[in-house]
Every structure is written in structure tokens, then in C-alpha cells.
């Protein structure tokens, strides 16, 4: 009799499995997921900023649009991921302070451009001009093969080329380099420049990481 009671007790103990209240955790996770997905979609434009340049800080609030990206690397000019010009005497790479891949410090860069690649009284960078014109013509060609409709379903002309150029430049860069770039872009019918900056409040906090 006693044994059987003990048996029964122990049997009951084995059967009762431990229930973790997962529902509240699921609630939290789903909310987090929705929030992350939402913030993910709002910054759909992928940004590739070079590791070699440090963007200046600013209090600007405007989000970057989808447009041609020009990066003024210490070693050359990169338009939409394609290197179009190499500077003379690029600085040597130094080991990264956080132990990663070696970096090239933009503060050491000279941004020298070969004389034969400049024209218009050394104001215009010929390879950049050619690349910008090519990019514009490519976009216009692609638009010419498509038909555009407005909201009433009427066929309209393709949108006018807005000529926006996003410029990524290191904070130490001298204005004369920037001026050459802007002169060239203006000559290639790019009328608006968007200077990429890092929001000030965020950069003050520690652990700022470069996003992609």
C-alpha cells in the first residue's frame, strides 16, 4: 500500500513537465520584429560609404535620396561603385586602430590630379565629367525606353532629369578639391548637390558604426 502510493507520487512528478511562459516573450519579439522591419524598409537605399573617409558631423535632418553617389576617396574618385580617377601620390595604408583591415587615412591625402586630366583653367576634372555625362545619358536612355503614366493612367513624358549628386567627402578635405568636383558636376548638368553628413547626436554617442 505504502509503496504504491509512493509510486504514484513519483509517477506524477515525472509526467508534469516544466512550462515556460513563452507567450509574453513572443509578444515582445513580434513587436521588436515589426519595428525592425519597419525601420529597415525606411532606409531602403543602400549606402556604401568608404571606410577610409570620416564624414563631417552636422545637425541636418534630411534623409539621403536615391541618386548618383560620388565618393571622394583618398586614393581616387568613385562614382556609383566604379573608380573613375586615381589621385597622384596616394597616401600609404596604415593598420586599422581597431585591428581590422588596413585603412588609408584621408587626412594624409593630397588629392592631386594629373594636369592632363584637368581642363577649363584647372577647374574641371575630365574623367569625372565624362563619367557623370555617361551616367546621365544612361539614365535618360533607360527612361526613354519606358513609358510613364500619371495617376490618371495617361502616358506622360519621362520625369525631368533632376541632376542630384550625392557627395561623400572626408571632413578634412580642402574646399578647392570640392570646388573642382562641384564645378565639374555643374558642367555635366547636375544641379543639386547633397553633402552627406553624420547626424550630430548620434556621432556623440560611443559605438558609432559605419552602416552599409
Amino acid at each position: 500500500m505504502r509503496r504504491s502510493i509512493r509510486n504514484r507520487k513519483s509517477r506524477r512528478k515525472v509526467k508534469k513537465d516544466f512550462d515556460l511562459p513563452l507567450t509574453s516573450m513572443m509578444d515582445m519579439l513580434i513587436i521588436l520584429l515589426v519595428f525592425l522591419l519597419k525601420s529597415y524598409s525606411s532606409s531602403a537605399i543602400a549606402f556604401t560609404t568608404s571606410n577610409n573617409i570620416q564624414l563631417p558631423n552636422s545637425m541636418a535632418m534630411e534623409a539621403p535620396p536615391d541618386a548618383a553617389n560620388l565618393i571622394l576617396e583618398p586614393t581616387g574618385l568613385v562614382l556609383d561603385g566604379e573608380k573613375i580617377l586615381e589621385f597622384l601620390n596616394p597616401p600609404a595604408s596604415v593598420p586599422s586602430p581597431d585591428g581590422g583591415l588596413p585603412i588609408i587615412r584621408a587626412a594624409d591625402a593630397t588629392y592631386e590630379i594629373e594636369k592632363h586630366q584637368l581642363r577649363d583653367g584647372n577647374r574641371m576634372i575630365t574623367p569625372l565629367f565624362d563619367a557623370l555625362v555617361k551616367a546621365r545619358e544612361k539614365l535618360q536612355f533607360v527612361q526613354s525606353t519606358q513609358t510613364f503614366v500619371n495617376k490618371d493612367n495617361q502616358v506622360t513624358k519621362p520625369p525631368k532629369f533632376n541632376g542630384t549628386l550625392i557627395i561623400h567627402a572626408d571632413k578634412t578635405i580642402a574646399y578647392k578639391v570640392l570646388r573642382k568636383v562641384m564645378y565639374t558636376a555643374a558642367a555635366a548638368e547636375y544641379k543639386t548637390f547633397k553633402l552627406i553628413t553624420v547626424k550630430k547626436e548620434e556621432s556623440a554617442a560611443d559605438g558609432v558604426k559605419k552602416g552599409t
Binding site: T23, L33, S43, A60, K176, A185, A186, L195, T197
Partner: protein, 194 residues
């Protein structure tokens, strides 16, 4: 008469247990992936239109009618000169002050951007319709300094007292809404000069 047997004993209270563990696995993976791929750097852009080579005809008319200031900031190595196009209506100078930033060298100087901001608020109060500031930096001015001047010029700070002539009435509730734009259109004026 017997009472009807209680139905409680028969209907074994079998709670339906949803197996949440695989779903939880998926969610945790997804959340960590999204957190990792999220850009930590908050990027913003400053808009600056390229200067027009020759203003269009209607704009020439507008210039003659409104007589805009064409407020210009000459950013020199040791000072910023703020003036209108002729220097007759506004003509000011912003000096440099010692740079007290932690990473600055002992004899480093920076522009007195707080004074510049105050001055621009003054000018905006006198000329509330002005929106444009033309920047003319020297060739060797670093990009960061130019961005600093742009920041000081474009908007009112949150702590600034907006002058009463820059407030507009909200049509919905009659509250006064301050105009937070100082000189939002910053243009480089010397791109074409060599």
C-alpha cells in the same frame, strides 16, 4: 434518484499546447539578423543647389523688384565676413576663438559659430524674407568648417528664441508657430571662379 455524474471528471481538461519553440527560434534569428544589418550611422544630407550661370529673365525681374540682400559669407582662414552684395546694408565680421575640443591642438582656433548664429538671427529679424546665404570659402578651408558654418546658418536651434516677426499663425488652432528656418538655402558662390 442519482444525480447526473459530474462531467468534469470525464472531460479531461486537455489544454492545447502550441509548440512555440520553433517559432521562437525563427524569431530570435530574424531579430538578431535585422539588428545586425541595421545601419547604426544616422546619415543626413545638406542640400546645396549649384549656382546658376546666368539667372533667368523672370528672376532678374524679381531681383530688381525685391532687392534681395544676397547675403554672402566669405569664409577666410582667420575670420568670416558676412555682408550683403554691396556691403552697405549688412557688414559684419566673425573672428576665430581658441578651439577647446578635446582632440584639438593647444593653438588650434575655430570660428565663433555661436556668434555667427546670433548674428544671422539678428539679420533674419531685420530681413525676415531672406532665405539664402551665399558661401564663398577660401580654397584651403576644410570641408568640416564649411559644414559647421552651414549648420549655424540653416536653422534656428531648439533653444533659440524665435523673433516674433517670424511667427506665423496656425490656421487650425490659432497658435503661433515659429518659423525655424534661418537661411535654409546655402549656395556656394565661388564654384565658377578658379
Amino acid at each position: 434518484m442519482f444525480r447526473t455524474p459530474s462531467s468534469r471528471r470525464k472531460s479531461a481538461q486537455q489544454e492545447v499546447q502550441l509548440n512555440l519553440v520553433p517559432m521562437l527560434d525563427a524569431l530570435v534569428t530574424l531579430v538578431s539578423f535585422l539588428l545586425l544589418t541595421m545601419g547604426y550611422m544616422a546619415i543626413a544630407v545638406i542640400d546645396t543647389p549649384a549656382p546658376m550661370v546666368a539667372p533667368a529673365e523672370e528672376q532678374v525681374e524679381k531681383i530688381e523688384k525685391d532687392k534681395p540682400l544676397q547675403l554672402t559669407a566669405h569664409i577666410l582662414k582667420d575670420k568670416i565676413i558676412i555682408s550683403d552684395w554691396s556691403g552697405s546694408r549688412e557688414n559684419h565680421e566673425i573672428k576665430t576663438v581658441p578651439n577647446t575640443a578635446p582632440d584639438a591642438k593647444p593653438d588650434d582656433v575655430r570660428y565663433d559659430l555661436e556668434a555667427l548664429h546670433k548674428l544671422l538671427i539678428d539679420i533674419k529679424t531685420r530681413h525676415p524674407k531672406e532665405k539664402q546665404l551665399i558661401l564663398k570659402p577660401d580654397a584651403d578651408i576644410p570641408y568640416e568648417q564649411i559644414i559647421g558654418v552651414m549648420d549655424a546658418a540653416r536653422f534656428f536651434d531648439k533653444t533659440d528664441v524665435v523673433p516674433s516677426n517670424l511667427k506665423t499663425k496656425d490656421v487650425n488652432n490659432g497658435n503661433e508657430v515659429p518659423d525655424t528656418n534661418l537661411f535654409p538655402e546655402v549656395v556656394f558662390g565661388n564654384i565658377l571662379s578658379s
